[in-house]
């Protein structure tokens, strides 16, 4: 059967943060890029961008300065992806990413070059680095313990302002709460739909009127992250104007609007800068390995892609880059060597929240300094294949708080390595 064959220089497999970042960096460097992504993992993310906040994880040691933390980490865990990138690389990678997101009206910022504490919907504090600008006001308000009102919405489940207030009681006494019926509705509320509704000025006016009487002495308002999707900045500034106080967003349990904003920004704007992207398509097998040739399939299509290089950013079990049966863990496209031939009985700790983390989170692909996957003997498998993001070994991002940072930094390094090799 003859099928369409597309050609490119670089194929990015994956549409999580690592794949998106890799596609962005490649397009910015003029590389002819195709991106394939099977599922949408971005709208599951919180929208926060960690660099590194905890190390060593067994001591739960928290760092205010992520760059110092990385220095120590490099000494302690030689296999960690950060040990293959310089601080300068990480900074440049984020600078390029943040500039792109700003152009897509999803502004990100960081606070005094330090890790910040973001209030979560259960009232815990999440240490992270780059945050949506809409969350930054909350960071300083918490530090200064300003009089604050936090609202939630009737029937928006998994978000209770009272829970946040109660849980934070010894850290922030000046909190008050109120529950609002969103646009008078008593039906179940969904964050994404609410966010689109608020892009209509009359809805935003109405919401402001509901909230206003509760403001009283509050100098700042905390609200679930529902302030618009594509027109987010203007929704936020308009609400601040209507209420006469600063407003900050609190991320919600998934699917989260800040994650959806990232997804939309990438999906819309990567096309504009020349990435040919196919979402809801899956790479099912690879044939040739010199110039790689892949079979790709989706709901209504089947085609081939011929490419000079590949960036593998397929994530872990949730993303689909790894799969596990009772005996072993497999990389799903190339059947690459996986670090972590441990037995299943030691994959996981008995305590789900064990400070040292689960062994399995350290399994993954090992690479050389250019992010070429290597085999057991340390030999590069294909010199035109790169692996980036959470599929990499020795990187327990959930405990270290380094998920996005590792994804973005490794994507940046791999794209540059590909460029240098090609040229």
């Amino acid at each position: 059967m003859s099928r369409i064959e597309l050609k490119c220089d670089l194929l990015v497999i994956g549409s999580g943060i690592a794949g998106m970042a890799a596609s962005l960096f490649a397009a910015n460097r003029g590389i002819k890029t195709i991106q394939i992504g099977k599922t949408n993992t971005l709208s599951f993310t919180s929208g926060l961008m960690d660099v590194l906040a905890v190390h060593p994880i067994e001591e739960k040691r928290l760092w205010k300065n992520p760059w110092d933390a990385i220095d120590t980490l490099k000494k302690d865990i030689s296999g960690h992806p950060y040990s293959k990138v310089s601080k300068d690389t990480i900074e440049k990678a984020f600078k390029e990413l943040v500039a792109f997101l700003k152009s897509a009206d999803v502004p990100y910022a960081n606070y005094q070059n330090k890790n910040v504490n973001i209030i979560t919907p259960i009232g815990t504090l999440k240490p992270t680095f780059f945050v949506p600008e809409s969350m930054l006001n909350g960071v300083s308000a918490l530090e200064e313990k300003k009089p604050c009102l936090i609202i939630d919405f009737y029937n928006l489940k998994g978000f209770s302002a009272l829970q946040i207030k109660e849980t934070l009681k010894d850290k922030w006494q000046n909190l008050r709460t109120a529950q609002i019926k969103f646009l008078d509705s008593s039906k179940e509320q969904f964050a994404e739909q609410m966010a689109y509704d608020l892009e209509k000025p009359k809805n935003l006016d109405k919401l402001a009127k509901e909230i206003s009487p509760h403001i009283k002495d509050a100098e700042i308002l905390g609200i679930p992250a529902i302030l618009g999707v594509k027109r987010h900045s203007s929704v936020l500034s308009k609400l601040q104007e209507l209420l006469g106080v600063k407003v900050f967003e609190i991320p919600t349990i998934i699917p989260s609007v800040p994650g959806i904003r990232l997804k939309k920004a990438f999906e819309d704007k990567l096309q504009d800068i020349g990435v040919q992207s196919f979402y809801s398509q899956e790479v099912i097998q690879v044939f040739h390995k010199d110039d790689f040739v892949f079979d790709v399939t989706g709901a209504a299509s089947m085609f081939k892609i011929r490419t000079k290089g590949v960036i593998l950013s397929t994530g872990r079990f949730f993303g689909g880059g790894l799969s596990a049966d009772r005996e072993k863990i497999t990389e799903t496209i190339f059947n690459l060597e996986i670090y972590g031939p441990f037995l299943r009985k030691v994959w996981h700790e008995l305590d789900f929240f064990a400070p040292r983390g689960h062994n399995i989170n350290n399994c993954g692909i090992e690479t050389d300094e250019y992010f070429h996957p290597i085999d057991k003997s340390g030999k590069v498998i294909f010199n035109n294949l790169y692996a980036v993001g959470s599929i990499l070994a020795h990187n327990d991002w959930t405990r270290m708080k380094c998920g996005t940072g590792v994804s973005v930094a490794t994507a940046y390094s791999a794209v540059n390595a590909f460029l240098n090799q090609k040229g």
């Binding site: 905890v54 259960i122 179940e188 994959w347 008995l350 405990r399």
Partner: protein, 516 residues
């Protein structure tokens, strides 16, 4: 320290303890039941849920087999809402002991147990998942029973007749004076609060912990512990209970329970009761062994594993594996040991819980000098709201009937709505503060594919809104609840469950940083 007085104090809230509470209450005797954790925290909440026809025991223990048959018949008649009367098939596969197979019908007949031979083709028609290598099959009277509903309903009726239930109340000390227990000291495991209970009679129904309990009164009961693990499949695999037709052994029973099936078990000697959990090795062993009888066990998806402990009373040293140590029950009157008002009931089976309760209550009455006869042989077990939420299809049914847009689902996997959570909270509050684990025990919360990752957060938020949680108690509550669930998920981490647990970890640790 608070003082309480009662006629009878029962220690242990499993099927036996709650059964005794009901039996006594029906005889007009009031009691307090103290449970260190919650209803069915022990073996009664960690078993196969098989209402034995007796067929399994015809070779090893004819007496137990007959007891099972008789009690099974009584329960099917009096507590039908707790039972799914599925019937059973005993099936042998090639390689199984031919002599056992040929002796089986006559052994059953001797115990008055029905076992109807069917040909292999018919067996495969009735239960298509049976192995191609099936060589013999019999139809039996086995059934499936919901142990949670059973214990909750027993306790509910006792409470309605004036008895009371104390959750998180652990017995830690007996004050013995003149050969009698003067009072029992209980400690609340949540608050540390202590209570003295002055009771005329004390019944030790602490299951595997009965030995520990007796030790507090300086009485020694020679016990050994045998751990058994089980796995739950995501889908129900058969209509009937399937038993391997061979001498009772490991990994040879498959019991349907509502929308799922439960497969097991193992038999592992353990020395302490501290850490009872299923291991990866047990799960792997059971799957490969069980697949000989039902091959689909090799590939089907599992959602949870759990483990319970069988208390085995070593009355004299018998050789062989733990299955040959008596699984019959023992009722001990400690008058013999110089403690006049202290009785221990342990061992036995879920199937025979009613009989165990009857015999115990008879002895209590004799001690109290009361002549009142047992009513549980004739009186149906009432169906109340306390037990109803444990039924898999119950909450969706109620929710669909009401069709109120306002009554949103807090748990989407098992369709548990705000109003269902409201009534669970009310029910739980009768015996202490509600917590996620307490609600989970009384319903299907956390038992669906998300394994609690989402519903724990939503229900905790809802409980704060209702004022049922305060300060940061919700955080420890969520962690505790998820860790409880995790014990049962850990040995099953491959395929889809590993994806689910990765999402759970991304949310709870990656994002919420709840572990910090």
């Amino acid at each position: 320290m608070a003082n309480l007085e009662t006629q009878v104090l029962i220690i242990g809230g499993g099927a036996t303890g709650t059964g005794i509470a009901r039996d006594l209450a029906l005889r007009g005797i009031k009691c307090i039941l103290a449970e260190k954790d919650d209803i069915n925290a022990g073996a009664s909440g960690a078993n196969h849920g098989l209402l034995h026809s007796g067929s399994r025991y015809v070779a090893s223990d004819a007496e137990a087999a007959i007891e099972c048959r008789e009690e099974g018949e009584i329960l099917k008649r009096l507590a039908p809402h707790c039972i799914d009367n599925t019937g059973g098939i005993f099936a042998a596969v090639s390689g199984d002991d031919e002599k056992y197979i040929s002796d089986f019908p006559s052994m059953c007949q001797k115990c008055g147990i029905s076992a109807k031979p069917i040909d292999i083709k018919e067996a495969k028609e009735l239960e298509p998942v049976l192995s191609e290598k099936t060589i013999a099959a019999y139809l039996t009277e086995d059934a499936s029973i919901d142990p949670f509903m059973l214990s909750l309903e027993n306790m509910a009726q006792a409470v309605s007749l004036g008895s009371s239930y104390m959750r998180h109340a652990k017995a830690i000390e007996f004050k013995i004076e003149n050969g009698k227990i003067k009072y029992t000291k209980l400690i609340n495991s949540k608050t540390g609060e202590e209570t003295k209970v002055f009771a005329e009679q004390i019944v030790n129904a602490a299951g595997a912990w009965a030995g520990e309990m007796a030790e507090l009164a300086s009485v020694t009961i020679p016990m050994v512990y045998s751990k058994g693990s089980l796995v739950i499949t995501q889908k129900r695999l058969t209509k009937r209970v399937i038993n391997r037709l061979r001498k009772a052994s490991d990994a040879d029973i498959l019991v349907p329970g509502g929308a799922v099936s439960i497969f097991g078990t193992t038999s592992i000697r353990i020395n302490t009761l501290d850490a009872i959990y299923p291991t990866v090795e047990e799960v792997d062993f059971m799957i490969s062994e069980g697949a000989k009888m039902v091959p689909i066990l090799e590939t089907t998806r599992y959602i949870r594993a759990y483990a319970g402990v069988r208390p085995l009373i070593s009355l004299g040293a018998k050789k062989g594996d733990d299955r040959s140590v008596s699984r019959g029950f023992v009722l001990l009157d400690h008058t013999e040991n110089g403690v006049d008002n202290f009785i221990t009931i342990t061992g036995g089976k879920l199937t025979t819980y009613r009989l165990m309760a009857e015999k115990t209550a008879d002895l209590v009455c004799r001690h109290l000098g009361i002549s009142a006869t047992c009513k549980t042989r004739e009186e149906p077990l009432p169906s109340t709201t306390h037990g109803k939420w444990t039924e898999p299809a119950m909450t969706p049914k109620m929710w669909m009937q009401k069709q109120k847009t306002d009554d949103i689902l807090l748990c989407e996997c098992e369709m548990i709505s705000k109003s269902a959570v409201d009534s669970l909270i009310e029910s739980a509050k009768q015996s202490g503060d509600p917590a996620l684990k307490v609600l989970g025990l009384r319903s299907r919360i956390g038992k669906g594919p998300c394994q609690g990752a989402f519903c724990s957060l939503r229900i905790a938020a809802y409980m704060y809104d209702k004022g049922e949680l305060n300060l940061d108690s919700g955080i420890s509550d969520i962690k505790f609840f998820l860790n409880e669930r995790w014990r049962g998920e850990r040995p099953l981490q491959w395929g889809t469950p590993i994806i689910q647990s990765e999402i759970a970890e991304a949310i709870h640790c990656g994002f919420l940083s709840i572990e910090l």
